[in-house]
Symmetry: C2
Subunit: 152 residues, 2 copies
Amino acid sequence: MRLTAFTDYSLRTLLHLGMNRDRLVTIQEIAETHLISKNHLMKVVHQLGLAGYVDSVRGRNGGLRLQREPAEINVGAVIRSTETDFYMAECFDSSSNSCPLSANCHLKHTLAAATSAYLAVLDAQTLDMLLPPGPDKPALAPLTFHRIAVPA
Amino acid sequence: MRLTAFTDYSLRTLLHLGMNRDRLVTIQEIAETHLISKNHLMKVVHQLGLAGYVDSVRGRNGGLRLQREPAEINVGAVIRSTETDFYMAECFDSSSNSCPLSANCHLKHTLAAATSAYLAVLDAQTLDMLLPPGPDKPALAPLTFHRIAVPA
């Protein structure tokens, strides 16, 4: 079971932009840094633009930047928009399903429940949670413990 | 995101055998019923045999049957044995990972947590739970409610 390369590259593009929010980033830079074909990446960026995650600034000094704050980019929503489907078995696609067991079988229900559990984990994450601490995201303060006075 | 066709056919083979436990089933029958190539199915059955799920009885009246009780066939274990991997992004395969973000990025951890949640749902299911009620598996008794005497 894998996510598509398209999703992998989409997430990497968002992470790369999230780690470089102080400047515009070119497609060329992302392609070279991640060893991804520029053609493939242009499709990824186009789709991320349509979905409202990435802005393209045109011109000689143009480039890409996040269209929203990292805390407003939900990882589950990104993956739902970049994956073609979540068809775990033939019976998920009612237009082509020919499995004669479908009517009496609980497999679809079980696989759908597993997929929901998968997406629920991602729905609880936003891009900022995936980024390292930085100027925009200070490291978590170390936990401090206070002595609690216990009433006598 | 999809499971492989190999997993789909493996699960269907187990379901088909689980629904026909009173007799031996031929590969030919499963291939015709599910419109799966017989060659592909032979690989599936070979793998299910190695994993201890299916027995092949040789001879003119031979065929396939489950090697264990359906309640002893865990769906999560089947899928772990039939899927090639659960590499959700390039960073899951340390032998080929070239992503320069890996060291500073929490994506792998997040996708691994989502995959664990997916498998946990399947680990809680056994083949008998996917099968329709039958001679081996009576329908669940309807829930009955008893009036509980509340002490005055």
